[in-house]
C-alpha cells in the first residue's frame, strides 16, 4: 500500500483536521463525535444532514456550506457513521424547521441513521438515495446510493436555503431521487488503509461493470474494451431505466472514482453526451470531475437527472462549499 499517511488509525482524524483548517472560513469540525457543520447557521431553515463512510471525498464533507448541507457525518473509511454522530450533528444544526437526513441506501447507513432518527426529538424526515441502476429495481435491499447523491443534496440544499419547509424538502428530495439514475465501472480496485491491499483483484484486461463506491466487486467482470463500448453500456442501462422522452432536459454528471484523470473523464463525457443527444435528449447542465470517489479507485460513473424548471432553478442557485461553488 502506497499512501501519504502517517498511520492507518489516524488517517481519518488527520485528514479531517486538514480539511477543517483549509476551509475554516465556511465550516467547523466537531472532534467528538465527528461531524462537519456550516459555520453560519441560518434560523428557521430546514437542516440538511448527510453522512456515510469516509473515502468518498469530496462527498459529503466537501458539500457542507451555504446552499447545500448543514452537516456531514463521516464514518471510518467505507464504514457507516454511528448514531451519536448524527444525533449530535442534528442537535447542533437544527434551526427550528426540522432535520432532513439524506442517506445513501446501504444497510449500515440506513440502520445507523434510523437509530439516530428514532432518538431525535425534533421533526425529521429521511430521503433515501438509491440511484444505482446496476441493480434491478426490485433488488432485495433496494438499489445502492451513489453519485446521484450530490445532485439530491444540491437541489434540496437550495430549496432549504430558499425557505422550503421540511415536507417540501422531503418531497423534492424524493422527486430528484426518482429522476436520477447512475451506473459505474472500475478499472482497478481501491486500497482501504486498514486493509493495506486492494479490495479485489483484477487483471490488466478486465473491467468491473456495475460497481458501487466501496471497492466492492461489480455486477460482472467484462473484458477491457474501448471507452465507446464501455460508456455505451452505462448509458444504455441509465436510458432504459429512466426512459427520458425526446426533448427532455437533463443534467449529465460524469463522476470519477478518484484515480481517473480529467482527460479520461471528459472523453467519457463526450461519448455519453453524444449518446443522449442522439436520442433527442437535451443536456442542459453538466458536471464532470471526481465528486463521489472510492479512495484511489480508477473508473467512472455516469449519472443522469431528468430536470424540470424547479430543479434547474435550484441547481443554478448559489452554493458555497469546499467542492462545489458558484454564484457566491
Amino acid at each position: 500500500m502506497k499512501k501519504l499517511i502517517n498511520a492507518v488509525d489516524s488517517v481519518l482524524e488527520e485528514s479531517l483536521s486538514g480539511f477543517a483548517r483549509a476551509h475554516s472560513d465556511i465550516i467547523q469540525f466537531n472532534q467528538q463525535p465527528h461531524f462537519v457543520s456550516r459555520k453560519n447557521k441560518s434560523e428557521n431553515k430546514v437542516a440538511l444532514i448527510s453522512g456515510g463512510g469516509a473515502g468518498h471525498e469530496p462527498l459529503h464533507t466537501g458539500l457542507v456550506g451555504k446552499g447545500m448541507l448543514d452537516a456531514a457525518c463521516p464514518g471510518q473509511v467505507f464504514t457507516s457513521p454511528t448514531p451519536d454522530q448524527m444525533m449530535m450533528a442534528a442537535q447542533t444544526v437544527e434551526a427550528g424547521a426540522g432535520v432532513l437526513f439524506i442517506v445513501k441506501n446501504y444497510a449500515g447507513d440506513v440502520m445507523n441513521f434510523e437509530i439516530a432518527a428514532e432518538m431525535l426529538d425534533c421533526p425529521h424526515e429521511t430521503v433515501l438515495v438509491n440511484d444505482d441502476v446496476s441493480l434491478p429495481k426490485d433488488h432485495s435491499t433496494g438499489r445502492r446510493g451513489v453519485a446521484g447523491t450530490l445532485i439530491v443534496e444540491k437541489i434540496v440544499g437550495a430549496a432549504a436555503e430558499a425557505g422550503a419547509d421540511l415536507a417540501t424538502c422531503k418531497k423534492l428530495g424524493d422527486k430528484v431521487v426518482n429522476a436520477t439514475a447512475s451506473m459505474g465501472l472500475a478499472l482497478t480496485s481501491c486500497t482501504v488503509p486498514a486493509l493495506g491491499q486492494p479490495t479485489f483483484d483484477i487483471t490488466d484486461n478486465e473491467v468491473e461493470m456495475g460497481v458501487g463506491i466501496h471497492g466492492e466487486r461489480g455486477r460482472e467482470i467484462m473484458n477491457l474494451t474501448t471507452a465507446d463500448e464501455l460508456v455505451q453500456i452505462l448509458a444504455k442501462a441509465i436510458d432504459e431505466d429512466l426512459q427520458p422522452a425526446k426533448g427532455q432536459r437533463v443534467l449529465l454528471h460524469v463522476n470519477g472514482f478518484g484515480a481517473t484523470p480529467l482527460m479520461e473523464l471528459y472523453l467519457v463525457y463526450d461519448i455519453a453526451a453524444h449518446f443522449f443527444e442522439e436520442r433527442g435528449i437535451e443536456i442542459v447542465r453538466s458536471l464532470v470531475g471526481n465528486y463521489t470517489t472510492s479512495l484511489d479507485m480508477a473508473g467512472c460513473s455516469i449519472t443522469l437527472t431528468l430536470m424540470d424548471d424547479e430543479m434547474l432553478q435550484y441547481w443554478d442557485a448559489p452554493v458555497h462549499t469546499a467542492a462545489l461553488r458558484w454564484g457566491i
Binding site: 454511528t82 444497510a107 432485495s140 466492492e216 455486477r219
Partner: protein
Amino acid sequence: MDRAIGDGDHVTNLLRGLEALTKQNDELIQLDWSAAFMKMGMTLMSTMGGASGSLLGSMFVSMGKAAKDPDMDLTAVSTIYSAGVESIKARGKADIGEKTMLDTLIPVMQSLQSDAEQNADKATVLSNMKTAATQGMQSTKDMLATKGRASFLGERARGHIDAGARTSQLILCVIADELSKN
C-alpha cells in the same frame, strides 16, 4: 474477511468495538447484567459503525432491556439472548437464510431455547451451542445473499462464507470455551 463479498472492513469494525469494550472492562464489572449489556450496546453502537455496529449495538441494548433478573440461569440466558437476536432481525429486516450473521445467531438461539426447555446440563448446552454456531456459519457458504453488501454480487457471492456469520461463530465459540473452563 468481508474482502471477497463485502467491503473488507468487518473485522476492523468489530475489533474497534471490542477494543472500546476492553477499555471499559473495569467499569462494566461494577454493573449489573442489564446495565452492563446496555452500556456495551451503546459502546458498540458508537464505536463500530457499519451494518454490524448498528446490529450488534441493538442486540446488546435489547439484551440489557430483557435482563431484568439478577439471577442468570439457562432460561434467563436464553430469553435475554433471544431478545437480542430478535432485535437484529427487526433492525436488519432479515431472517435466517439471507447469508448474514443471523445464520449463526438464530440456530444458537434455537439451540439455547430447546436446551433450556429440556434442562440440559452445561456441557451439553455449550457443545450444542458451538455446533449450532458452526453449522449455521457454514450454511452461509452456498447461500445467495439477500441482505447486506454481498447481496449486490448475486451469484458471485456464492461459495463464500459471510463475514458477520463467521465472526459471530468465532465469538460464540470463544464464549462457550471460556464458560466450559469454570
